[in-house]
């Protein structure tokens, strides 16, 4: 992974000092709440329903065991013994005290971490494929470019006061596990005909109130021009993005109102006009960065999948592990979706234990995923049984990855001051209703994504089943969409009809699944494929059949 040098370390240390000063000025009354807000926000600090919430950056989801132990320490010392992993591969703490936040940041800085730009109208954490570097099908490891972009974006002099937040995802796989089509900018590694590595650039995607699939802006961008091109996009957006209406301020609205052709023309024109001043990536720089992400010292191992007979292990192996590009190794997904628990939460004890397991079995490294699980990416196949037993003992081996109960869930009304409705109680309702693993396996891969408001932190638009919390006359209701997907080609789900009452969400999902099981063509047709084939109507008929008789 990338390791800080004196310059990186100095920067985060100075950021801690700056934020300590800003916090003290606020507490002393020298800064008003309005003045402090943009300052604290660009350091990940929200004021929530009950307490501040601090979001800590995990750049492109990569963590060392030492860093995870520090996250556990922070949970224990400053919070209530747990943290919540987010859809931007970050971690959030729900109960820190404002006056202690500078100390938390200082602790983070001691392990090369920070909370810089984890919120606010600036360039946010760069996200990436959580299988980067180990996925058999990827073009090249995207992480060197993620780190290059991270550094470029950090305290950028020109792009720190954007019209709205700005999210960049990088992927090198056709599977697009980074959901690059629903980001402000999607960067996709691509090889030219001559084998040279470059990028395909998408812009103007996003979820939130107005979900839009990103548009192709540049079919092939040479490696050297990556930052220059990002500067051109950001400059066009910074100058011309709307600032009069927070709901129309994302770049997707600018791209839509200009039209993709005109937006592209402006970006290309800016790119050309600024060539002399824009940063250029040198091959040496890329090489230097690539060295940080060199493969760990794999042992030469034969491919020998474990042949243990226990059904529970077999289920875990099938659902919670993935192919690795190196013979004899396997990728392990650590499920943070145990039935009855809050999706994405991990306790301090679990984090500490995972740090130990990462050191024993996976070169001391972990990843976070945008669907709120963790990954041990480099596990020898022969260690899988021991690892499974350890994870099982920690409650981290629920064999449900990719199934209905592996759902994405925002903090919702329980914590978030933006939420219209609860998310966590719905997750628990779904967990309780669909607790039979055999039934889940029969249903096959289904992505359920849930947000407590239209800001869409839970990515509901791109769930095969999406659940959106809405407020109706002070009551929590839920709008259901089906047919969304973040995998290429991305698709936005369609609303099936009027929203349903809180207590009816799991029942509604059960009805959708009934229709799917009845209509699917063979066991291999996924829920999403069935929806695409037969459309919404059969699902609507089943969910709203009572309404027909009433009408």
């Amino acid at each position: 992974m990338y390791r800080y040098d004196q310059i990186d370390q100095t920067l985060v240390n100075e950021r801690v000092a700056q934020f300590r000063d800003q916090t003290q000025r606020f507490l002393a009354g020298a800064l008003s709440e309005d003045e402090f807000r943009p300052l604290r926000l660009r350091n990940g600090l929200y004021i929530q329903r009950f307490a501040p919430m601090l979001r800590v950056a995990i750049p492109y989801g990569l963590l060392s065991s030492r860093q995870l132990r520090m996250l556990a320490h922070i949970a224990r010392r400053y919070d209530r013994d747990y943290g919540h992993f987010t859809t931007r591969q970050n971690i959030q703490y729900n109960w820190p005290k404002l006056e202690q936040v500078p100390d938390i940041l200082a602790d983070l800085a001691s392990v090369e971490m920070h909370a810089i730009q984890t919120s606010g109208n600036c360039i946010r954490n760069i996200t990436a494929d959580h299988l980067a570097g180990v996925a058999p099908e990827e073009i090249a490891d995207p992480r060197p470019y993620c780190e290059i972009i991270r550094q470029w974006a950090t305290l950028h002099p020109e792009f720190s006061y954007l019209p709205r937040k700005f999210k960049i995802a990088v992927t090198a796989s056709s599977s697009d596990r980074a959901a690059s089509e629903v980001h402000d900018v999607g960067v996709r590694l691509k090889r030219a005909a001559d084998g040279a590595l470059g990028f395909e650039i998408l812009a103007g995607g996003g979820l939130g109130r107005t979900p839009i699939i990103g548009k192709l802006i540049r079919d092939y961008l040479p490696q050297a021009d990556l930052l220059a091109y990002l500067e051109a996009i950001l400059r066009v957006y910074n100058r011309h993005g709307r600032r009069d209406n927070i709901h129309k301020a994302r770049i997707k609205i600018l791209v839509r109102s200009l039209g993709v052709e005109e937006f592209r023309r402006q970006v290309e024109q800016e790119f050309e006009a600024n060539r002399e001043f824009a940063p250029r990536l040198t091959p040496q720089e890329v090489e230097r960065m690539r060295d940080f992400f060199a493969p760990p010292p794999y042992q030469p191992l034969a491919d020998a999948p474990p042949d243990a007979a226990q059904p529970a292990f077999q289920a875990w192996y099938r659902y919670n592990t993935r192919a690795h590009k190196v013979s004899g190794y396997r990728v392990v997904l650590v499920s943070l979706k145990k039935h009855g628990e809050v999706p994405g939460d991990a306790s301090a004890a679990q984090m500490d234990a995972l740090a130990d397991l990462a050191e024993q079995h996976s070169f001391g490294m972990l990843r976070t995923t945008h669907d709120q699980n963790l990954v041990l990416a480099d596990v020898p196949q022969r260690a899988l049984m021991a690892l499974w037993q350890a994870l099982d003992g920690l409650g981290l081996a629920t064999p449900n990855i990719g199934t209905l109960t592996d759902m994405i869930c925002c903090p919702g009304l329980d914590f978030c001051s933006l939420a219209n409705a609860g998310s966590i109680p719905i997750a628990k309702q779904i967990h309780a209703r669909f607790d039979d693993l055999d039934y889940l396996y029969d249903l096959g891969p289904i992505e359920v994504k849930m947000s407590g408001c239209m800001n869409a932190c839970g990515h509901h638009h791109i769930g095969h089943i999406g659940i959106l919390g809405v407020d109706k006359h002070g009551k929590e209701w839920y709008q259901i969409t089906i047919g969304g997907s973040s995998a290429a080609p991305a698709a936005l789900g369609e609303v099936i009809g009027p929203s349903v009452a809180k207590e009816a969400v799991a029942d509604t999902i059960a009805k959708l699944l009934e229709v799917y099981v009845r209509e699917r063509h063979g066991e291999d047709e996924r829920f999403l494929d069935t929806v695409r084939r037969i459309g919404l109507e059969p699902f609507q008929e089943r969910v709203y059949e009572m309404d027909h008789s009433a009408a």
Binding site: E14, N238, R243
Partner: protein, 163 residues
């Protein structure tokens, strides 16, 4: 007398904006539209006030005789001025004073200076001494800028930390 920061010193402000009482020796500040319409009749060296929506491309061919450009930040979080400043400095080679004015606290000074601002007309509630110190909030940067810090993406000489 109103104070401003110019190249890290507290100095008296010599500019007077529309609607302010005239002061002997003070320089009147013109709007961009006024300058573009009648620059031949206006006194030089001249001072211009740019709003966030003024296009620097339109002004660029008419910078002769302009010795002050004041970019207005109407509210907290306004970010267009950062791009205007960088374009004026880099693409159009504007060499004279570039001043940020309005809803600016000391917390913005570091990045504003990196974008090419060399003068600052701050929120009057700011403490001038604390504001001066804020230019040194960071001693390193990842990007090239108009200040003395050099972008450090290419750092073959930087030593990795141990541990």
């Amino acid at each position: 007398m109103r104070w401003i920061i110019r190249r890290r010193e507290i100095v008296a402000d010599e500019l007077r904006y529309a609607g302010e009482p005239p002061v002997p020796g003070a320089v009147a500040v013109h709007g961009v539209a006024q300058w573009l319409a009648a620059s031949g009749q206006l006194q030089r060296p001249a001072a211009l006030l740019l709003s966030a929506t003024d296009e620097v491309e339109a002004l660029a061919p008419h910078l002769d005789g302009v010795h002050w450009i004041v970019i207005e930040f109407a509210k907290i979080g306004e970010g267009r001025g950062y791009s205007q400043a960088r374009m004026l400095r880099q693409r159009y080679g504007y060499p004279h004073e570039l001043r940020a004015r309005g809803a600016i606290k000391r917390d913005q000074l570091f990045l504003l200076a990196r974008c090419g601002f060399d003068a600052f007309d701050l929120d009057p509630a700011e403490d001038p001494a604390a504001a001066l110190a804020a230019f040194d909030s960071f001693s390193v940067a990842y990007q090239d800028g108009s200040d003395e810090l050099v972008g450090v993406r290419q750092r073959t000489l930087a030593a990795p930390l141990s541990g």
